[in-house]
């Protein structure tokens, strides 16, 4: 069985790259798991958690916001405007962001607040999953 070449890329940097045996990501249609030999695919991701199992059996968790997942020839690219590895996430800040987004959602700017809330929520879930 082959391995997956994974690149987790955010708009301003390469967050993680390496070899993996499995990836789980959340697309707009639901969670999708990718193993080596997967058919080429291009799909839309929503805010959520990406779960990467490396070839050494380690698990990396990252939070991503809306982006793309492309699979071709065992090369997986996860593209997101923002992406953070679970161990880099500041949980307290994420919680505060979530509260602030909820508070802002009650006043006005609903779409913006929803985006901020989804991103904060994704980060909190990533940290919780990692622990």
């Amino acid at each position: 069985m082959g391995v997956l070449q994974v690149e987790l890329v955010s708009a301003d940097r390469l967050v993680w790259s390496g070899e993996a045996s499995m990836i789980i990501a959340r697309t707009s249609e639901g969670d999708v798991g990718i193993l080596p030999g997967h058919a080429p695919m291009l799909s839309v991701m929503v805010d959520g958690v990406v779960d990467v199992t490396t070839t050494d059996g380690e698990t990396w968790i990252a939070a991503v916001d809306a982006g793309f997942l492309s699979v071709a020839d065992d090369r997986v690219s996860v593209l997101a405007e923002h992406a953070e590895m679970a161990h880099d996430i500041n949980l307290e800040k994420a919680r505060a962001d979530l509260d602030r987004a909820h508070a802002a959602g009650e006043n006005d700017d609903e779409s913006q607040a929803a985006v901020a809330a989804a991103w904060a929520d994704a980060r909190i879930r990533a940290v919780e999953r990692a622990n």
Partner: protein, 303 residues
Amino acid sequence: MALSVREYRARIKSTQSMKKITRAMELIAASRIIKAQQRAQAAAPYSRELTRAVSAVATFSNVDHALVTEPIDSDHVSVLVVTSDRGLAGAYSSSVIKEGERLIEKLKAEGKSVTIYTSGRKAAAYFKFRNRAVKQSWAGFSDQPTYDDAREIASTLIEAFTADQEADSTDEVHIVYTRFRSMLVQEPVAVRLLPLEVVEGTEAPEPGDVLPLYEFEPSAHDVLDALLPKYVTSRIFTALLQAAASELAARQKAMKSATDNAEELIKKYTRIANQARQAGITQEISEIVGGVNALADANAGSE
């Protein structure tokens, strides 16, 4: 000799302190430019993968999208001019504004009405001083733009492009920015951003490099719908990063020549001051000698 030695000394001193300032600015620009280049490099994987994905969708599906459709007649055109926030960068801002003016003139000559957007305080100030209407301007991030800045600009431009009302809508969006070629060469360029020309990627797929037959989830159209705005944002972000690197390179160059000029001035003033001092000494000596001679003559006469 117009000035006294003391006045030259004062001039040397002020030139020296000016030189210290320009030297410091040169060093700051030099260290920031490395960071700016690193940022541009760090952003490259994202735009490369995005370009790949967009060309995959464009190649394997026959979908029309508002952002790629060529307008039938483009009467309203928007131009985004990217300049710096601060000056002291040589001709950086003025050359990109000049390029923008050339584009605006050209579009106007074709009978189109032009809406101006600006990024950076210099462009905003330029158009404001000339009483020219600017639809919207952004500022405060010219030397280290973030992705969120680019997204804000992109969403405004895309909104204008896709607007239904005849009054606010625009049929084409152009962006004028400075492309960073090397530390020595930065050139202002004008490119059309919308409607998109997808083929024109940074790295076109090679002829032998066949793109895989993708499955699209949920559908090709939905993927394209989500992909294209991100593609636009990414291209604006790339332009902003290039402009930031160019600005810093231009500033470093300008400050380097300012420092060199200050050095020249100090040298020149030191020479003149020395000359003045020597002239003063010579004059004093000849006065003393003259005085002694006059005394001796007077004494010789009285004896």
